[in-house]
């Protein structure tokens, strides 16, 4: 992790390695340099075209006027003062709070509980069953949930009626949407995170858990005092990545607004608003400004994870 590269052989023995392969003689080194660049060349082109240049170009658009000329922060101010901007930001924030809380509580809880199951087959089955919805990401999962939330066909219509949802439009009333999007996002994404936290729990040495048990710790205090602190960095990783992804909310409100008989506007989230700027108002500069707002959130999240998270090898 922070100690430098480590290799292990087939028998599982681990040996630290000082540096990548030999570097004999300067002539051969020159050749290695060239091949190294050859090997990464294709990727570097794609990275430039679709990772770096779009950001620079958006920044350029965000800082210029539609008619040309430097705009300073004009586009940022104009979009932020748009009457749709603050509500959209509030919608995204409400969704994020619900989603991050439910991830923290239920993913961690389920990972711990599945990890304690005695039956190996039971553990494998449960992990996989929870993970299957991940196959239905994107528009398909939203569409499926439009069915599940529609009281006239829903398999859980009793439950929906019990909560007062008599009609589809009342279920997807704007006030319910943060909850609805949380359920959809949790349904498709939680299984993958449970797998990852489960994997992290597996890295805790059995001796440590045994020692805790001998010292009289029950399952709850073992989880609280031993397991949670040791998988904490993975929980942080999950939350920061989810925060960054959640700010991008687009597919869910886009489809719901399409199916909502006009109950839900098509500028519910910030990304939808940016989309409206680009495609309805033909204002690419405004769209770029909102995109940059969201990119900054994503970049800050990524930066924190790389510099503080100690989860990634960077040497």
């Amino acid at each position: 992790m922070t100690t430098g590269p480590v290799i292990s052989d087939a028998a599982g023995r681990v040996a630290p390695v000082t540096r990548p392969a030999a570097r004999p003689g300067s002539r051969q080194r020159g050749r290695v340099l060239v091949t190294g660049h050859l090997f990464v060349s294709g990727y570097v082109v794609l990275l430039a075209l679709f990772g770096v240049i779009p950001v620079i170009y958006s920044l350029y658009l965000a800082l210029t006027r539609p008619a040309g000329g430097f705009a300073g922060l004009g586009n940022f101010i104009q979009t932020a003062e748009d009457y749709r901007f603050v509500p959209a930001a509030e919608h995204v924030a409400a969704f994020l709070i619900l989603w991050l809380v439910s991830l923290t509580v239920f993913v961690v809880l389920l990972a711990l509980v599945v990890h304690r199951l005695a039956s190996r087959r039971g553990r494998t089955f449960i992990r996989f069953a929870y993970y299957i919805p991940g196959a239905l990401a994107g528009a398909s999962s939203v569409l499926l949930w439009l069915f599940v939330l529609n009281p006239s066909v829903s398999p859980v219509s009793i439950l929906i009626r019990a909560f007062g949802g008599t009609q589809f439009t009342s279920v997807i009333a704007p006030g319910h949407l943060p909850m609805v999007f949380t359920i959809i996002a949790f349904w498709t994404g939680a299984g993958g995170w449970i797998l990852i936290l489960y994997g992290a729990l597996n890295t805790i040495p059995a001796d440590l858990l045994e020692a805790a048990r001998v010292d009289g710790a029950g399952p709850l205090s073992t989880a609280w005092h031993v397991q949670l602190p040791l998988i904490g960095k993975w929980i942080t990783y999950m939350l920061i990545l989810s925060l960054a992804a959640g700010t991008q909310l687009f597919v869910e409100p886009q489809l719901v607004s399409q199916a909502s008989f006009g109950v839900v506007s098509n500028y519910y989230s910030l990304n939808q608003l940016a989309y409206q700027y680009a495609f309805t108002q033909n204002n690419f500069n405004g769209a770029a400004a909102i995109s940059i707002d969201l990119l900054i959130v994503a970049l800050v999240c990524a930066g924190i994870l790389i510099s503080r998270g100690r989860l990634f090898r960077t040497d």
């Binding site: 290799i7 292990s8 990634f312």
Partner: protein
């Protein structure tokens, strides 16, 4: 999976001891929690599998977890295929084309790049690695509008390239390959090959690549699933219906379904069972890959987590 397999406190109670009531209720709670979430995750999928076998009337008034009939399934199938003169076939073909083309480019580009980052020294290596990490941790949606603005500038909007090329840029795949080669393939092996007269290129093709099957499969899987399910990028890049991938086509069907759009008359070609079937068709390839590769996936994702 059974109740008996749930042990709330493993190995605590001796053989002769009476069950501790507190432990018992802990066990029940555990079981309830797992079962509740099992229902939550599986009910929608089971319902979907059954819904496609029903007629509109059967779907609305019948019991939700009953099987309709094969004849109804067949009729739904025919209606879905007939939608807008065979649009679904075109959309599925587009999805396959975009995802597979991107998959090939991704592998050709990412595997050597990850290998070079792990096993070679070259100028700019660390900068490239850190940039890769930053972009990898950014949500893909963050770059969609900026990429659109760029593609629009290059006049490539509404061409397959406008989605295939951005799909092919897959920093997570490069990072995964980098981790794999730096942890699972010993440097000595590569060095030994070079002493035996292998150049850099043949060391990669003859030694490293044959050892890389697991990571190639994993990168291929994540790339394919991610691109197949991508909605935002093609939605923005491909305004013409004949270019839609299935995910975007689905929204077209949604707006042609009277239940979700009253403007469409009740005589529309698409009703709820057909929409459900289209949803199932749209996820079928990925669902099948999930089921076939389940063991591999569970261990693969877990391995990702243990590389810390």
């Amino acid at each position: 999976m059974s109740v008996a397999s749930v042990h709330a406190a493993r190995g605590r109670a001796g053989p002769g001891r009476r069950p501790d009531p507190r432990r018992l209720s802990g066990r029940t709670l555990t079981f309830l929690l797992l079962a509740l979430f099992l229902l939550f995750f599986l009910i929608p999928i089971i319902w979907l599998l059954l819904a496609v076998t029903k007629t509109q009337a059967g779907l609305v008034s019948g019991r939700p977890f009953s099987f309709g009939s094969l004849a109804a399934l067949r009729r739904n199938w025919d209606q879905v295929l007939a939608f807008q003169g065979g649009a679904v076939k075109t959309w599925m073909k587009n999805s396959v084309e975009y995802s597979l083309m991107a998959l090939v480019i991704t592998l050709v580009v990412s595997i050597p790049a990850g290998y070079a980052l792990a096993k070679m020294e070259f100028r700019g290596r660390r900068v490239l690695l850190i940039t890769t990490l930053v972009v990898m941790l950014m949500p893909t949606a963050a770059l969609v509008l900026p990429t659109f603005l760029e593609i629009n500038y290059a006049h490539l909007v509404n061409t397959p390239l406008s989605v295939v090329l951005p799909y092919s840029f897959f920093p997570f795949g490069v990072y995964l390959t980098y981790i794999y080669f730096s942890t699972a393939v010993p440097n000595d092996l590569i060095a030994a090959a070079k002493i035996d007269g292998c150049g850099e290129l043949s060391a990669f093709f003859r030694i490293a690549l044959p050892l890389a099957t697991p990571v190639v499969a994993l990168v291929g899987f994540f790339s394919f699933v991610g691109n197949w399910n991508n909605f935002f990028l093609p939605y923005v890049m491909l305004p013409g219906s004949s270019q839609y991938p299935m995910q975007v086509g689905l929204t077209q069907m949604l707006s042609d379904t009277p239940t979700f759009n009253p403007v469409v008359g009740a005589s529309a070609e698409i009703q709820l069972p057909q929409l459900a079937l289209a949803t199932l068709i749209s996820v079928a390839p990925v669902l099948i890959i999930f089921l076939v590769a389940q063991r591999f996936l569970v261990s693969g994702l877990t391995a990702g987590a243990t590389k810390g």
